[in-house]
Symmetry: C3
Subunit: 109 residues, 3 copies
């Protein structure tokens, strides 16, 4: 048994929550802020058998790894610029920090 | 010294907080959601001497173990059903998940 | 790599957050309550290389160690006491609880 503590961006949290439920993985969600990010993030605490740790890490990686996305700036930014087009711009999104912690005792009542 | 992380239902948290205070156990409370439960739960972080870990576990178990309770459905559910009686129904409440974690260093400033 | 969990008073948190940023230390903030304190406190989770643990502990100690401060009671308390002066009184502030936890695996995606 391990305790996995995963800090992901709020943006990626709902997909990850769904995947945990589908895989029958019990994750407790903490509301957190910080790192260098101004935006909110979500911290999961997950108690998991040793042999499923890699599966959990793969799920977290797939849902939240750092990546570039194209974002089209909102139209109202261009309101005063007649004739211009809102081109999609690259933004960096995602990223997760994960700690796998040893446990001395695990109990459910 | 160990760090006990205990996730209990909000319903059981105030009794447990009282017991921790009575027993001079310092517990820090985190607001959490999740597991499979839609309802809120409360996570305690408790720094405790090795020889008191079992005492803490017993307190958490007694305050929050999974159990059946009889709940009488609220009267207004029966408003349209004249002559019926609201019978108490069995519901499952409680349950706690507890991790006992090793600590390398503990300090208070 | 270690996971440092530090519980400090809200009063001391913003100074500490600034120092973490200046020192390029990534700290995730959890909103917590409790201990015996009625007032809010802030819990930091900090993933840090072994050789920087003492530096982090020193920063937490300096920002939040238990200490006496002089506080002048607010003027409106004296509204009915003509001719009296609001003398500063000593109050105990600060204090931090810190756990240094072992990590089995650390990953960033
Ligand atoms: Ni991908
Ligand atoms: Ni009982
Ligand atoms: Ni000082």
């Amino acid at each position: 048994m391990k305790l996995v503590i995963a800090i992901v961006q709020d943006k990626d949290a709902s997909q990850l929550s769904d995947q945990f439920i589908d895989a029958n993985i019990r994750a407790t969600k903490l509301s957190t802020t910080g790192g260098f990010l101004k935006s909110g993030n979500t911290t999961y605490m997950i108690g998991i058998d040793d042999q499923r740790v890699d599966e959990v890490l793969a799920m977290i990686k797939e849902a939240s790894h750092s990546r570039e996305e194209f974002m089209t700036p909102p139209v109202n930014l261009d309101a005063s610029m007649e004739g211009t087009t809102a081109y999609p711009v690259k933004v960096q999104v995602g990223g997760a920090t994960v700690f796998v912690m040893p446990i001395e005792k695990f109990q459910q009542f």
